[in-house]
């Protein structure tokens, strides 16, 4: 009985994790510019990964494997923000202007000149 319950909980975690991965992918396609897309990839980096690892932990039971998965999660959560920040910083240094909400109406005519060189 308990085993079935844990199995079901684990499936739910794995499926919702997968769903968030897909949502992150959709966001990656739909969001308007580079910087907003970083936020979408953040979904796959965090909640998707966390849910899937938790789901797998329930599958493995209490063993050395669980510890390894905790470490995977820890390393993932430490390294992905660094990678995201490196991407964002590189974009800033390269002069990529983020699309901001304050000036979208005036933008079409304004944005043309800088993008031409």
């Amino acid at each position: 009985m308990m085993a079935i319950f844990i199995d079901i909980l684990s499936w739910v975690l794995l499926i919702t994790g997968g769903a968030f991965g897909v949502i992150g992918g959709i966001g990656l396609l739909r969001f308007p510019d580079f910087y907003t897309r970083l936020h979408a990839s953040g979904i796959t980096d965090t909640l998707c990964a966390v849910l899937i690892v938790f789901g797998l932990m329930l599958q493995s039971g209490l063993s050395l494997l669980t510890l390894k998965m905790v470490l995977i999660l820890l390393f993932l959560l430490f390294t992905t923000p660094t990678a995201t920040h490196a991407l964002a910083r590189a974009a800033v240094l390269d002069g990529l202007e983020p699309k901001l909400a304050d000036q979208p109406q005036a933008s079409p005519s304004e944005e043309e000149p800088p993008s031409k060189p």
Binding site: P32, Y35, G42, T46, L47, P81, H85, P98, L100, A101
Partner: protein, 161 residues
């Protein structure tokens, strides 16, 4: 020296936990790799108070739990925005960084990037520039809950060292 020993012990424990194969040859290799890593760390001059894992307090676990809650919250918010694309209102913001230690500043910058909806663009001595996906994410960051949590984390580290 104290820090070198604690780092060594921790690496031995980590190796024992991760290996799972306990044979003489493997033990020999494990001991060799631990010694190599400790030697490299000493050479790189990264062994010290700031990097000593033994000093991590229970507050760090509490912070991670809190951060996990924030992650879920902001993930749900950004996922909602994926399906309401017209509500995306990106903007840039700058918030003060009130922390002293470099580790706390980095933790702050990383935590901001980790929560979807805000990405750290630049971290200087006392300012953090971020890109926010919409008004709500920006206000969440400006409210400074996260900065206060990390200050709380920092106070504990100071008390023990």
């Amino acid at each position: 020296m104290r820090y070198v020993i604690s780092l060594g012990l921790l690496l031995v424990l980590l190796w024992l936990a991760l290996s799972g194969v306990y044979k003489p040859v493997i033990f020999f290799l494990g001991a060799g790799s631990v010694i190599l890593v400790v030697w490299l760390s000493v050479r790189m001059d990264v062994v010290g108070v700031e990097h000593n894992p033994v000093l991590f307090s229970w507050r760090l676990a509490a912070y991670w739990l809190w951060l996990l809650g924030q992650l879920v919250k902001s993930n749900l918010h950004v996922s909602k925005l994926v399906f309401q694309i017209d509500k995306v209102r990106p903007r840039l913001l700058t918030v003060p960084v009130p922390h002293q230690a470099a580790v706390s500043k980095v933790t702050y910058g990383n935590s901001v990037t980790l929560t979807p909806g805000t990405v750290t663009l630049r971290l200087t001595r006392d300012r953090l520039e971020a890109h926010a996906l919409d008004e709500e994410s920006a206000r969440d960051l400006e409210a400074g809950h996260m900065a206060r949590k990390i200050s709380w984390l920092e106070r504990q580290a100071e008390g023990e060292s």
